[in-house]
């Protein structure tokens, strides 16, 4: 399969991702620089899981949101939108390829975590799936934000406003043993499933069921993906 020259939107993004070597090196190294020291340390499991979670959430949200707003400002995305390609397909490709590229960035660090912290295979797989679902959801948030602003700086601001409550509800740092409404809300945030499965990988029992990690975050992320794809006509319309 030929990636460059690209014949689809996603191949274009892949070609750009691998085309800038220095940027690629930085992109691959920074998750390792943040995650590996944590994985190799004696830090309590819940905080080690939280650090990885934060890296995944931030990488996903800011990656898609910022690159989208840059392309929107530049006018190139508008030009692509005026081809016969379906706007929903364009947004789906943006979402999918960004989530996969974010996953590729984080995967080497994740593998080191699994090597340094041997865990049952089912939890390793569950954590991997939940992290991908988190990246997908985070990219959905980034794309959703790009609907309302064409400023990369605003993306940071809006993303923080959206992510802070979600991170709280997910129990990364506070709200680790939620009850009542908070417990119910937690079930609807994919970050929470990632957090639980990573805690299990780091040896902290959460009482979570592995099957839930495979089903619920994926389902929620798929619904989020469907939601942002429906915003495509607005996202790809000119901003005046």
């Amino acid at each position: 399969m030929k990636i460059n020259p690209p014949d689809t939107y996603w191949k274009k993004d892949v070609a750009l991702f691998f085309g800038k070597r220095f940027a690629l090196l930085i992109k691959m190294l920074y998750p390792m620089a943040l995650i590996v020291p944590v994985a190799a340390s004696d830090i309590p499991a819940q905080y080690a899981a939280a650090v990885i979670g934060i890296v995944a959430v931030m990488a996903g949200t800011f990656g898609a949101g910022e690159s989208l707003t840059v392309d929107l400002n530049d006018g190139i995305l508008m030009r692509v939108a005026l081809t016969p390609l379906s706007p929903r397909r364009i947004v789906f490709e943006i979402l999918a390829v960004n989530a996969i590229l974010d996953f590729i960035q984080i995967l080497p660090a994740l593998l080191i975590v699994y090597v340094l912290n041997p865990a049952p295979l089912v939890w390793v797989l569950a954590a991997t799936v939940a992290i991908f679902a988190t990246l997908l959801t985070a990219n959905c948030i980034g794309i959703f934000i790009a609907n309302f602003t064409s400023s990369p700086a605003d993306v940071l601001l809006y993303a923080t406003a959206i992510l802070a409550p979600l991170i709280y509800v997910s129990g990364f740092f506070r709200n680790q043993n939620p009850i009542g409404t908070l417990a119910t809300l937690r079930d609807f945030v994919p970050f929470a499933y990632m957090n639980d499965s990573l805690k299990e990988v780091f040896g902290l029992s959460t009482g979570a069921v592995p099957l839930e990690m495979f089903v619920y975050p994926g389902l929620i992320a798929a619904l989020c993906a469907l939601g942002v794809c429906l915003t495509a006509p607005r996202l790809l319309s000119p901003r005046f």
Binding site: N4, P5, P6, D7, K12, A15, L16, L82, S237, P238
Partner: protein, 316 residues
């Protein structure tokens, strides 16, 4: 002989911006296959808004348009597939090569792999970009970027080309190549709409021209019709060694408008005996040192000046 249906039919298009109230109102015209149609108008005349509507970027508030029979509002994707588009400030993926950019767009318009390679190779060669095809688009000059945008607009053999200020920024050789290509495409049946304020280009290329003023289609006709409507007008172009205060020239009977173009003083005036002598005397009297003088028949430029001048007067 049956006339071929219009490649672009525009009926009563209106799109006004809430914030400024400006835009385009009630524009109707058609562009037939093989016709080169010029769209002219001063800044704020609604030209860009009309182009945004026709490119399907924004929807009209009322009216309709069809591209190759496809409804531009309800069948956007069909309409887009039949249209080649070049925006006035083309952008590209800077970290991809020029070739990769053009290939991506050609494939997005549904051109098959092999055909895309053949067509693009021809166009890169034609526009003199072949030796730069593997360079990153961000290293391209403004003119090269415009040529790349022209290639992207033409590669999928559209029924209609919508070009916004296509030749602005092109060097002279590239302008000639571009004009030759436009004529070739028109001969092969492609309908071409050129929005431009490059009067020479429009006069040289276009079969018909529409003038927009304050959002309305003020005039529509062939360049010849427009120019002949100015029978009796002349343009005196005086090249000066030094700038002069030329306000007094406006008071000479028959002088309609005076403007500077670089070192030239351009006087639009009626045809009357002795007027050239009066103008020369006026310039010399103002301290002007004339190094060259020409009296020209009207051109589309004079039509543009007349129409936009009237628009400015109406605004006053």
């Amino acid at each position: 002989m049956l006339e071929r249906p219009a490649a672009l039919e525009v009926q009563e298009i209106t799109r006004l911006y809430k914030s400024s109230g400006r835009g385009v109102s009630g524009a109707s015209f058609e562009v037939r296959p093989g016709e080169v149609f010029g769209l002219m108008g001063p800044n704020g005349s609604g030209k860009s808004t009309l182009l945004r509507v026709l490119s399907t970027a924004i929807a009209p508030q009322s009216g309709s348009f069809r591209i190759g029979g496809a409804d531009g509002v309800r069948e956007k994707r069909k309409a887009r597939a039949r249209m080649g588009l070049m925006v006035d400030r083309p952008t590209h993926y800077g970290d991809l090569s020029g070739w990769a950019n053009a290939y991506f767009f050609a494939r997005s318009y549904g051109v098959e792999e092999k055909k895309a390679e053949i067509v693009l190779a021809e166009l890169f060669d034609y526009f003199g970009l072949a030796e730069y095809m593997d360079d990153k688009a961000k290293t391209y000059s403004y003119g090269m970027g415009k040529k790349l945008a022209l290639i992207e607009a033409m590669a999928h053999a559209p029924d209609l080309l919508l070009l916004d200020e296509p030749s602005l920024g092109l060097d002279y050789t590239s302008q000639l190549a571009y004009q030759k290509k436009i004529r070739e495409l028109a001969t092969s049946g492609v309908a071409i709409l050129i929005a431009s304020n490059q009067v020479d280009e429009v006069e040289a290329l276009c079969d018909r021209v529409a003038f927009l003023q304050k959002g309305r289609l003020a005039a529509l006709g062939t360049p010849e019709e427009f120019v002949s409507s100015l029978e009796g007008l002349r343009r005196i172009v005086a090249t000066l060694r030094n700038p002069v205060e030329y306000g007094a020239l406006g008071g000479i009977a028959g002088v309609e408008r005076v403007a500077t173009e670089g070192r030239d003083l351009v006087v639009h005036c009626a045809e009357r005996p002795g007027l050239v002598a009066d103008v020369v005397a006026g310039i010399v009297g103002a301290g002007g040192d004339i190094t060259d003088l020409a009296v020209r028949r009207p051109s589309l430029e004079d039509v543009y000046v007349k129409l936009t001048g009237e628009a400015l007067r109406d605004e006053d």
